[in-house]
């Protein structure tokens, strides 16, 4: 069946389209990443753990001096200083950690010396009115940074690599790695997209073809059902369904199930409508009449003869629904009704908005979420266009 599909004229047309090939490669890349997430390359804990100071920009960019001072002051230095003041410095120091960073393997006395030195510089820095222009203060700041860096135990091998990767796109307001969260969200998005698109297309195909093929009361029922569902604005229905689930006290609300159900309830309509129309057309064709005359049961005719001939429509609809699901997931999560207890692009965008990242010009979090989502959705848009051109050129 697959080889027959690949040899068909339409498939060849599809594979001649260069942009479609690029889009497919991109989507395959995303799928691989999502698969890797399934095997815990980046686990949910990695996304929740603090990996560094908060709101660090990505690509290890240097920041404004004021901000650099702030980071150097608040990272391990502050914690070590407080630990040394405690009655049992040894024990307190052992507990100090920032993500994977731990205190350097030195005696409390040695650490105390470093801290004292740093405090002396800190006092000078405090007196300075502005750190921005004064070259003297800038060099002082650099010494301060290097001294506080001595407090940190150097990471070795893979840990160091992972730490670098985690900080590649900076951290959010809680010091969590933006890259990890963004990449983990790929899995969440693809999972939601594939599951809902698949289920919706299945529901739509079965109901639509049954309505188109049998007519009569089946048709009336299905048409009534989808007019009912489609007469409520999509977003409102999504919100109401998600809300209804949120209200239940079971464990269900922490899983993705409410999101799946909300999406499937609204997304099957389009597919159903298209498949119904196509089935009504196919029903009149000679080969279906022939199959009926040959004495095949209506189920067999429907599933063996009619439905396979709507498969191109199902494919296009699948691709379109996937886009819809990914985009709606972001909006629902943003409203606090979608994904919970795991990262998602919607949650990242919400965090960026709520923490005032955008207002202060810290675009790393929202930028990462947007860019990852943009590329995926763009690839799917191009792919569905190509699919439509190849398989259903007359479509409006």
């Amino acid at each position: 069946m697959l080889s027959r599909f690949l040899k068909s004229r339409e498939a060849k047309k599809l594979f001649r389209d260069k942009s479609a090939i690029v889009a497919m490669v991109v989507i395959a890349g995303y799928l691989l990443v999502a698969l890797a997430m399934m095997f815990d390359v980046v686990s949910r804990d990695d996304c929740a753990n603090v990996v560094g100071p908060n709101s660090v920009p990505g690509f290890f960019l240097r920041e404004e001096p004021e901000r650099r001072y702030e980071i150097a002051r608040t990272s391990l230095f502050g914690k070590v200083k407080r630990a040394l003041e405690k009655s049992d410095p040894e024990a307190a120091l052992a507990e100090v950690q920032l993500g994977k960073l731990r205190v350097a393997d030195k005696t409390p006395a040695e650490l105390q010396a470093i801290v004292d030195e740093a405090v002396a510089i800190q006092d000078q820095l405090k007196e300075a009115e502005s750190l921005d222009d004064d070259p003297e203060m800038l060099s002082l700041l650099e010494t301060f940074e290097s001294i506080t860096a001595e407090l940190v135990a150097p990471l070795s091998g893979s840990d160091r690599f992972m730490h670098g990767v985690a900080l590649l796109l900076g951290t959010d307001a809680q010091g969590r790695s933006i890259l990890f969260r963004g990449v983990y969200s790929i899995k969440v998005a693809i999972q939601i997209g594939v599951v809902t698109a698949l289920v919706s297309v299945l529901i739509g195909a079965v109901l639509g073809s049954a309505a188109g093929y049998f007519g009569g009361w089946v048709d009336a029922l299905v048409v009534w059902l989808y007019t009912t569902f489609s007469s409520i604005p999509n977003l409102v229905l999504l919100v109401v369904i998600a809300y209804a689930f949120q209200a239940t006290d079971s464990d269900v609300k922490d899983t993705l199930l409410p999101v799946y159900i909300a999406f499937c309830a609204t997304f099957w309509i389009g597919t159903c409508r298209v498949v119904r129309g196509e089935t009504m057309k196919l029903k009149q064709l000679e080969y279906v009449q022939a199959a009926k005359t040959a004495g095949f049961g209506s189920m067999r005719v429907l599933f063996r003869h009619v439905l396979p001939n709507t498969s191109h429509l199902l494919l296009i609809n699948f691709s379109l629904l996937l886009i819809g699901a990914i985009k709606s997931e972001v909006i629902l999560s943003y409203l606090g009704l979608g994904v919970k207890s795991q990262p998602s692009w919607g949650i990242m965008i919400r965090d960026a908005g709520n923490n005032g990242d955008v207002m202060t010009g810290f675009f790393w979090q929202i930028g990462t979420a947007t860019a990852l989502m943009f590329v995926l959705v763009l690839a799917f848009n191009i792919l569905s266009d190509a699919l439509q051109d190849a398989f259903d050129p007359k479509h409006l």
Partner: protein
């Protein structure tokens, strides 16, 4: 009708009263309140009461969150605001995207067309949220800082037409940009379909000018899909742009519905959803009427 039923059933998944009464409420209190609100009646009775209220336009139920205010008042307050936001947006979007769609169809296959289509796809691929957040940031915050005084409001709303530009123009623009991608592509497809028709060839051979063919012959014939498209979005006009209203603090219908949902405000959700359904049915009827106006071949029976 079915919509009312559906929404009602969905809302009855959880008993809302305990949440409303707070943690101190005793079991008897809750039962009394249920009685008072009529929630202990059989469901079909509730359904028919609600239906009756809808048909007779009786919106006198009180809000649960703000006692003393009826749903009708809330509607009167929020609907015009939503319309002020969505009507200009719909108008601008349609005019601009029909024009771009026509240009694109006219230049089909050439560079201009490819660029336009590419931008449409690009625009479709960015999340609505991102448009809003960045629109708000650059449009109201940065632009305001640049000019020295606020050009557009960041959050909030005041009634009055003289304030319209300050509060509404930016959301309207954002909404236009967001829907541009989809609409342009759709109208382009419509127009491309039309350019292959025989009557266009006839018009060319008659010697009609390009602009006349495009704006008179083609536009008129493409009216049916355009109307359908507009009509589909009509009920959404009143819902407004839920997200836009949320972000810019505009107290329109979408915002009212969303806060009703988060506050468990039952009557509001029920009435609003029923109104959407009613509007939907009205817009379908209106579409058929407009078909007959624009295409004499369609006869109303």
């Amino acid at each position: 009708m079915a919509i009312v039923l559906l929404v009602m059933l969905l809302l009855r998944v959880r008993d809302p009263v305990p949440g409303m009464m707070g943690k101190q409420a005793t079991v008897e209190d809750i039962a009394n309140k249920r009685e008072e609100l009529g929630l202990n009646r059989p469901r079909y009775v509730q359904y028919f009461t609600l239906l009756q209220q809808m048909v007779t336009f009786d919106f006198s139920q009180e809000l649960w969150t703000q006692p003393g205010m009826t749903v009708g008042e809330l509607l009167r307050k929020s609907v015009p605001i939503s319309l002020l936001l969505t009507l200009p947006a719909l108008f601008l979007t349609t005019v601009i995207s029909v024009c771009i769609g026509m240009i694109s169809a006219y230049a089909r296959g050439r560079l201009l067309d490819k660029i336009l289509v590419f931008f449409a796809v690009l625009g479709m691929s960015i999340s609505f949220l991102v448009y809003i957040i960045f629109g708000q940031y650059f449009g109201s915050y940065q632009l305001g800082r640049l000019v020295g005084q606020p050009v557009f409001s960041i959050h909030g709303y005041e009634p009055g037409l003289q304030n319209w530009a300050y509060y509404m123009l930016l959301p309207v623009l954002i909404s236009v940009i967001v829907s541009m991608g989809y609409n342009t592509r759709f109208y382009r497809a419509v127009m491309v379909e039309e350019t292959t028709q025989d009557y266009i060839t006839t018009a060319w051979s008659k010697g009609a000018s390009t602009s006349k063919i495009m704006f008179v012959h083609m536009l008129r014939n493409a009216m049916i899909p355009i109307i359908t498209r507009i009509m589909i979005t009509l009920p959404l006009l009143v819902t407004g742009s839920i997200l836009l209203e949320r972000f810019f603090g505009i107290p329109g219908m979408g915002d009212a519905l969303l806060s009703a949902i988060s506050n468990n405000d039952f009557p509001v959700i029920e009435v609003f959803s029923s109104i959407f359904a009613g509007l939907f049915i009205c817009s379908i009827i209106l579409t058929d009427v407009l078909y007959a106006v624009f295409d004499p071949r369609v006869r109303l029976q």
